[in-house]
């Protein structure tokens, strides 16, 4: 499974997006655009990504640019997996 599918699926789970999950593509804006993505959701999302992908995300990597779009978040995770 491509990383983007994993990230999309974690996002859909954590934010309880339901059918909207399927409409997300690389360009879809996240932070500031998806109303469910508040600070608590960001923390849950990080924990879920760490668990699902087996990566460790550092505090100083919690950055608005990372969470800008599904594409930017996926690129970040791919970088952590590399």
């Amino acid at each position: 499974m491509a990383t983007i599918d994993d990230v999309r699926s974690v996002l859909g789970q954590v934010l309880q997006l339901g059918a909207r999950q399927g409409t997300l593509n690389e360009q879809s804006p996240l932070l500031g655009s998806v109303p469910e993505l508040d600070s608590m959701a960001v923390v849950s999302l990080i924990a879920a990504l760490e668990e699902r992908l087996g990566i460790v995300i550092d505090d100083d990597e919690i950055d608005a640019a990372t969470f800008a779009t599904l594409g930017s978040l996926t690129a970040f995770c791919e970088h952590k997996l590399a």
């Binding site: 934010l15 600070s39 919690i62």
Partner: protein
């Protein structure tokens, strides 16, 4: 808040809530589950511990030991109402607290029920502090704050505000020392764990705790529930739902006592 049982009383349940925002966001879900348990003849007591919810006192003044006393008082209250058979039902950090209290009670509780228990207080603290870092991201204020910086400030005796909660250095230190594995309850445990889907196994960390307890003779009944992670649900305006968990809990409650 007491949910009286429908019909004849079978047993009592004392709910031990989650920490800070997780408590707040799960209120509706817990009330729903409580009504489902009451419909099965269980009397369910929901308490707000010191400094939490509608309780008196300030969050930053409450200590872990205050919360322990609150749980003990709630159990005494239920015993006073004639509940000889009692379960402690703890959610997330509340499960850790319930496990600890269960081991301390002079008259043991009949069962512990856990909803997505926090395994390590340290992990919970790290995630709680991340809330502050995540909030900074939304306000667009770029700061050099990291968990390490916040921990150093706590260690130096400063309270840290996180998502509207003032975290005291004493609470942070206590949280960081808590380890569920070392708090094995002296009674059977019903453990509910939400997983992404049926194909996914329980996290290795949770499996280790359960195996260790079982090895020491504690009966642990694990129920994986395929659902969305309700405890970190995002939108406060939308009420957190997790019907699968409520249903699984109330179905099993038949066999608790």
């Amino acid at each position: 808040m007491y949910h009286p049982p429908a019909g004849p009383v079978r047993a009592g349940v004392v709910f031990v809530h989650a920490f800070a925002e997780e408590m707040n966001k799960s209120r509706h879900l817990v009330a729903q589950a409580s009504r489902a348990l009451a419909a099965q003849g269980l009397g369910v007591l929901l308490i707000d511990m010191k400094g939490c919810g509608d309780s008196t006192g300030l969050f930053e003044d409450a200590s872990w030991d205050d919360w322990r006393s609150d749980v003990h008082l709630a159990v005494q209250f239920m015993r006073g109402r004639g509940h000889a058979r009692l379960a402690l039902w703890g959610m997330r950090l509340g499960a850790l607290l319930a496990a600890q209290c269960a081991a301390e009670m002079p008259i043991g509780v009949t069962r512990c029920v856990f909803w997505q228990p926090v395994l390590q207080g340290e992990t919970h603290l790290v995630q709680f502090l991340r809330l502050r870092l995540a909030s900074a991201m939304f306000s667009g204020t770029k700061s050099d704050e990291t968990g390490k910086v916040l921990r150093a400030r706590l260690a130096a005796g400063e309270s840290i505000e996180v998502a509207g909660y003032l975290l005291s250095p004493a609470m942070a230190a206590r949280l960081s020392s808590l380890d569920l594995a070392s708090l094995r309850p002296p009674c059977p445990v019903s453990w509910f764990e939400v997983i992404a889907d049926e194909q996914r196994a329980l996290t290795p960390a949770a499996s280790r705790v359960i195996a260790a307890w079982q090895g020491l003779g504690t009966s642990v009944h694990l129920t994986p529930v395929a659902a969305e992670p309700f405890w970190g649900a995002s939108n406060a305006a939308e009420l957190v739902q997790c019907p699968a968990l409520v249903e699984a809990t109330s179905r099993q409650a038949q066999a608790w006592f």
